[in-house]
Point group: C2
Chain length 149, copies 2
């Protein structure tokens, strides 16, 4: 029910980057925006680039950019990359070992709810997130507009 803080950070970073229209995100900028501990964030960014979500560009004017299309990155992938493959494959609640003498009763019980959740995480890409974000912005702008007129 609870992702590790690191995974939470990763999702925050990536969704922040996905919804802003910048070319380049230096660690220091993300640090100021997201308030994730500076050095820990740096490590996380390096990690995310090793995992292929973003690319690091060293040197002056460097930073991090997405290394693939936003539509090709979904939330399940990110969680899996951070928490290990097991996380998404085993029971949502983390039951790895069934009670020995019978098929794990718990497993069945929420198989449906579980697969729904995984489905949502798999079907939602960073591109979807971005679209939703822009739509929300538009809606708010229109609301303001209509209030003024």
């Amino acid at each position: 029910m609870i992702l590790s803080k690191t995974t939470e950070y990763a999702l925050n970073v990536l969704s922040f980057m996905a919804t802003r229209n910048k070319e380049m995100y230096p660690a220091e900028f993300l640090y100021k925006e997201l308030k994730i501990p500076r050095q820990y964030l740096r490590r996380l960014l390096t990690d995310l680039s090793k995992k292929g979500f973003i690319t690091s560009i060293r040197g002056r004017n460097g930073g991090f950019v997405f290394s693939r299309d936003l539509s090709s990155i979904n939330f399940a992938q990110v969680i899996e990359a951070m928490e290990g493959q097991e996380a998404m494959k085993t029971c949502l609640l983390g039951f790895t070992a069934c009670i020995i003498d019978h098929p794990c009763v718990m497993h069945d019980l929420w198989t449906e709810a579980r697969s729904k959740m995984i489905e949502t995480l798999t079907n939602t890409s960073l591109a979807d997130l971005k679209n939703k974000y822009e739509m929300d912005k538009d809606t708010i702008a229109q609301l303001n507009n209509s209030l003024i007129h």
Copy 2:
């Protein structure tokens, strides 16, 4: 996505106790059945009794018994008791802080999948678990039976 090991242990213990028809479960018996580290299990049992799910009976022939009806204990309650009230109330993925300048986009995204999950956890009591367990046993028995005849 991942409950703490301790919460996992708690669910294992309680569901084991719920599906067996014993009056009393001494720690040592549960230890042998469930292979949860002995001393850690003892602490967990004391903790579960302080939290009102089970009652401890000290002294010879002592052990642990459910302190209320199985139908009054659901999985959400157990998880909440172990992980803290926040766990079930905040976003399923643990997002506590929304990005400052706009309502957290992520929150909306899987609100539905999330509430489905919580619904299932809330609607499933230890009594339901037990019923399912007995039904499964019957089904298997009948299958064996029909294979013999």
